[in-house]
Amino acid sequence: MGSDRTLESIWQRRAKAFRTETMPYFRYMGQSGFPAFLSLIVISSAIGYIGLLRHVPDDFPFTIVGVIALTLVLCWSPLRTWLAAGDTVFMMPREADMNGYLRLSLRYTTLGCAVLVAIVFLLYMLIYVQGPAINGAWTLGIVAAGLKAVNVWGAWQERQMTWPSMRWLLRSLRWAMTALTVAAWLTSLLWQAAAFTLLLGILCMVLYRLPSKHRFPWERLIDEEARTRKRYYVFFGLFIDVPTLSSSIIKRSYLSWMLRRISFANRNTFVYLYSASLMRTEVGGIVLRLLFLGCLIVYWFAEAVSLSGYGSLIAFFIFMGLIAVQLGGLRHVHRYSVWKHVYPLPEKQRTDQFLRVDRFAIVLCTALLWLFAAIPLALSGVYMLSLAAAVLAIVYLAVRPMRLRKKLAQDEEEE
């Protein structure tokens, strides 16, 4: 029994428990048709990629694409530790022996990230060698491996930092320095890029030594693990009802003004509550990220008038659909709240008020996405497609409340 209590065996047990816990949800996801949808995206992307490989345009932005794609995968360095709130009581006394435990976490997460880097690197290299190809693929591969290792180290140092502001500052610097280093290696001669990297490396070592640090950042690791688990469940929530985990809250002060504009009246009680939830919970975070990414991609397609303008409209409808699905998750947020049993919340108006918040959010997101498609297309003289897309979107927006109302009624019956 003694060996079962080593920290390494605890790590193994926890990893296994998470796999067992999530396995049924992966099965549900498998049955939902999502893999087919994903395969469709992979196949269509593969066709586009192969087409690009055959005829790489002369004006292809090799450096920008390389810097964006590689920086994203090189800098992103998550860490699964399986730590939970109770560990400040049960595991903390064994902090001195946590190195082995942490090593397993680093190995586990870094391996996944390294595979991702390798895939993106290979995909990009096949394009890059047809362009400037200033440095060889092997050299760049070694540099990418080195940069990944430095990023994993940097991300761990940031987790240890006492002050969140310092952590954010150094994280931003790490991303910026990685992007600059990648740009240097893609565009400069070997000795120039190496000298530049050496200088940045020294700067980086000095900067990371300065801030005060925790020996073992318990709270930060527990928080990071909770957020990761939450993301898994938000994802699974798209396919099946999932257990409610405590939500991670982000202030998003730049949206708070909207909350203050909701007039103080009983008829707005749930409007107020759901708006706050939308702005500050994970649901809102995902919607904002989707909206940002959607606007960007829709704009790119529209600006290039890809597939005679159909490209941007397909992207418009895909992102509109994704946002609509995410927004639907908002109805689960206060499903089991004790407040509605104790407070005289106008329960009968809950559905109507929820639908008001949903309608406002989906109309706003759709309108923004549409503008990012319609304006560049109009500038290229394409009008009819945008108008047709607007009509279809309006039809969907008109039908959505009825469908949501039915789902809310079903939820209530199940309760």
Binding site: S246, S247, I249, K251, L259, F264, A265, N266, N268, T269, Y272, L273, A276, S277, M279, R280, T281, S337, V338, W339, H341, V342, Y343, P344, L345, P346, E347
Partner: protein, 245 residues
Amino acid sequence: MKVSGLTGGYSPRRPVLHDITFEVKAGEMIGLIGLNGAGKSTTIKHILGLMKPQTGDVRIDGVTLEEETERYRSAFAYVPETPVLFDELTVEEHLRLTGMAYSVKDNHYEEREEELLEQFQMMPKRKAFASHLSKGMKQKVMIMNALLADPSLYIIDEPFLGLDPLGIRSLLERLVEVKQKGAAILMSSHILSTVEAYCDRFIVMHHGSIVAMGTLEDVRRAAGMETRGGSLEDAFYKLVTGGNA
């Protein structure tokens, strides 16, 4: 509020509460006391409508929950033992939500909000999110919400847990104030000296039944201490241990 012949629990075969009957009148504060597991929280859950009575009923403002849900719920404010707040709302946003739910008048709300934040020393924390508050501060927010609603009945479960001395004092002062204005208060607590000092009547529960009820004199009499005097604590020990303490 009137609780009549209430029997209930988590399983119909094994009721936790046995024939509970009592009344909380306007302008009085009642202390609900008992050992852990005596049935205090279960009684409160039945009053809130979180549990359904097997027999008997609970009337607030003359109606049961089934008869008129909104009137029933609007008539009381509840402060739970464990604060339940929305992580995505700040302190002042909780107050605003409560104001909306209880239809507090707009002009009155602003004034009350400032007063409560001041009285419970929460001014510096007014923009803090619930997830960033200590347990005592969360409890203060729950209490402020209850006081903001200004209902005719307050149901307060273990209000002093986690509160700092200033918070306890502010709470007791406000409770005396609302009581004088005619509100009824049902307060469950283990701090017997405070309960004795502030409550008008007491309900002593033991093993799911009421073993004594009334003024301090009545409780002492039920404990067989009518001639000797003694505090609520003495009488309580006698009642729940049968004099073997």
